[in-house]
Symmetry: C2
DNA sequence: TTGTAAGCGTTATCAG
DNA sequence: CTGATAACGCTTACAA
C-alpha cells in the first residue's frame, strides 16, 4: 500500500504539502496540486483511515443499532439509513442489540473507542443515565424511539396519534369491543406507552372502557399473534376487533382465525401496524398504519451529520406523521 | 479517554508491560498483571482501535456485502452472520451493493484500506479479475455465490440440485407444462446458471423440452411475479405449473392469479424458493425449497475467521444441501 | 520478567 | 505558498 510518503517522494514535495492537497487546503499552487493528484493516481494511493482516526479525524462511519434486522421494519429502515449514509460518504456499522442490555453496551463502546463518529439507536435497552453518559463521546440520535426527559435528539412518528387514528377507524366502522396488543413490558417510557395513550384516548372519546381481559402484552411475532387468537377463541365474551400493534401479529391472528374457521373481518376485525409487505399479501389484506420509514431514515442521517458537523438543529425532536391504509381486514 | 500511558503511569510500569498484559503475553508476573487489570478497570481504559490498526493489527471487523438488506433472504443471512461474528468478538460492517459495480468497488476498497479484516460477499457484480485482485489485501469469501475458475473459497447450497428437486417434485405431481423464472441476466456464472441446469436436467429426465415462451428472465419482486402471471394469463397455450425461483415472485404470481379468479394449484401449480416467512403466510401456503441460511451464515464466518488466522480450510468449497418443503401450492 | 525506543501514516503547528 | 517536526496510542525488537 502506497503511503503519503511515497506520494511525497514521487513528487519531490513534502508530506505536509501532499496532505494539504488531499484535504483541499487553500494556498497551494495549481501545478503542485496537479502533480500530487497525478502521483496519487499512479500509485493508487488511498489515505489510511486508521492513521487519520488516530490523528483525531472522523471515521466516516456511523453506527446503527437495531433490535433484529430480520424484522422488516428495521431492514427497511437500515436500507434507508445506509443509502443516505452512502450518498454522504459515510459507512454504516450495523449491530443487533437482540434486546439485550450487554449487547447494547458493547455497541455504545464503539462510540467511546471512536470506531464510529455517531450512533443512531432504533432501540433502547439501558437506562437513560447510561446512554446519556455516552453522549460525551459523540452524538447519539434516537430513531423511532425516545426517552422522556432526555436531551438526546429524536426522529420519530407520533405513535400516540397513530394508535388513535387506528382505533378511531375501528370505532368508526362500528366496532365497540376492541382488543389490544402491545409489544411493551409496561415500561414508563418510549413508544409503547404513547400507543397505549392513543388507544385509550380514542376509546374515551366514545365513552368506552378498556376491557383488561382483551389486553395482551409483550407480543411481537406471528406466533404470538396465533397465540392471541387462540386465547380469544376460548373466551366467553369475545372482542369484535383487535388493534395488534404490528402486521406480524396481525398476520398471526388472521392465519389462526382462518384455521379456526372464523371470518375476517366479520367475526373479528384486525388492524395491523407498519404496512409491511405482508400486509398486502395476506388474505384478507390488512388495514394498517403506514410509517414513513424512508423519510425517517433520511432525516435521521441528515440530523446526525449535522450534529457531527456541529451545525444547529432546527428542532431536536422531529415528528413525522403516519397514514391509515384501509384494506379488507376491518 | 484514558490511554495506555495513563495505565502505565498509574501502575508505575512501562507502556510495554501494560501492552503485554492487554495482549495476554506470557512471562508477566501475576502481581503486575493484576495491578494492570485493576488500573484499567479504574480508569475505564479501552485500547484505541485506530492505534492498533495503524500498528498493523486486525480490526476485528468483517465486511458483509449484500445486494439489498430488505430482501428477507439476506436479512436472515446477515442476522446469522452478525450473531456468529459477535460471539467471536467481531463486528460486522454491512453494505448494500444495490447490484452496482461501483458500490461494490467502493466496499472492496475497505479491505484495501484495512477497515475490515476480511470480506464476505453474498453478491458479485464485478469481473473475476477485479475481485481476485483484492484478495491480496485480505481474505474474501463468497457466500451463496461463486465464480467458476476462481480460487476464492465458497459456502453455498447446491443450487443445481435445488432446482432439480423442485422441478422433479412438479413432475412427480404430474405437471408437464412447466414455466420457469430466473433472476439472472444470462450471465455465464454463478447460481442462476446452476439453477437453469438443474431445471433442464429434471425436464430431460422426462424427455420434456423447454418451452421458451414460458421462460421469464430478470425477475425478482412480488410485482415481477404479478407481471409474469398476467403474461401467462394472456397466453394461448398456458403452463400448468411454474418454478419461480423465489418466494416473493411466487407470492406475486399467486396474488395476481387470485385476483384473476384462478385457482392455485388447480389452474397453476406454484413452486417458491427460499422458504421465507411469507411462504407460510400466503394462501395457499407455498411449496418451496428451504435454504439453510443459519448454517450458511455460521459456516461462512467460521471459515473467514480461519482464513484470518491462517488456519487451514478442510475444504475451499463448502456445499450445503437444501430441503423441499411441501405445502399447498403444488 | 521488564523497560527503552522506534515506528505505523496522518495532520497541525510553527517557521520560513 | 511550502517544509520540518511533533504528536496521536499502540506494539515489538532489542536490551537489560
Amino acid at each position: 500500500m502506497a503511503t503519503i510518503s511515497d506520494v511525497a517522494e514521487r513528487t519531490g514535495l513534502s508530506k505536509a504539502t501532499v496532505s494539504r492537497v488531499i484535504n483541499n487546503h487553500p494556498y497551494i499552487s495549481k501545478e503542485k496540486r496537479e502533480l500530487v493528484y497525478k502521483a496519487m493516481e499512479e500509485l493508487g494511493y488511498q489515505p489510511n483511515p486508521s492513521a487519520r482516526r488516530l490523528r483525531g479525524q472522523l471515521t466516516n462511519t456511523i453506527g446503527v443499532i437495531v433490535p433484529r434486522i430480520v424484522n422488516p421494519f428495521f431492514s427497511y429502515l437500515v436500507d434507508a439509513l445506509e443509502q443516505v449514509a452512502y450518498e454522504n460518504n459515510y459507512q454504516v456499522l450495523m449491530f443487533q442489540s437482540d434486546e439485550k442490555k450487554d449487547k447494547e453496551l458493547y455497541f455504545l463502546n464503539l462510540l467511546k473507542t471512536k470506531q464510529v463518529d455517531g450512533l443512531i439507536m432504533t432501540a433502547i435497552e439501558n437506562e437513560r443515565e447510561v446512554i446519556e453518559s455516552y453522549t460525551r463521546f459523540g452524538p447519539i440520535l434516537f430513531c423511532n424511539e425516545y426517552l422522556s426527559q432526555s436531551e438526546i435528539p429524536v426522529v420519530r412518528v407520533d405513535q400516540s396519534k397513530a394508535a388513535y387514528i387506528g382505533t378511531k377507524h375501528l370505532l368508526d366502522r362500528g366496532y365497540r369491543k376492541i382488543a389490544y396488543c402491545t409489544g411493551g413490558l409496561f415500561v414508563d417510557d418510549g413508544k409503547d406507552k404513547d400507543r397505549n395513550i392513543g388507544f385509550q384516548k380514542a376509546l374515551n372519546d366514545h365513552q368506552i372502557n378498556i376491557n383488561t381481559a382483551w389486553v395482551f402484552i409483550n407480543k411481537h411475532t406471528i406466533e404470538d399473534g396465533r397465540h392471541v387468537m387462540r386465547q380469544i377463541a376460548g373466551m366467553n365474551e369475545k372482542p369484535d376487533a383487535i388493534f395488534t400493534g404490528s402486521d406480524e401479529i396481525a398476520a398471526g391472528v388472521i392465519l389462526e382465525a382462518k384455521s379456526l374457521g372464523m371470518k375476517i373481518p366479520e367475526d373479528l376485525a384486525v388492524m395491523g401496524f407498519d404496512d409491511q409487505p405482508i400486509a398486502e399479501m395476506i388474505d384478507p389484506a390488512l388495514t394498517t398504519i403506514q410509517q414513513p420509514i424512508k423519510e425517517m431514515g433520511t432525516i435521521s442521517v441528515d440530523m446526525l451529520l449535522r450534529l457531527l458537523k456541529n451545525q444547529p438543529l432546527d428542532q431536536k425532536h422531529k415528528e413525522l406523521s403516519v397514514e391509515l391504509v384501509i384494506r379488507s381486514s376491518t
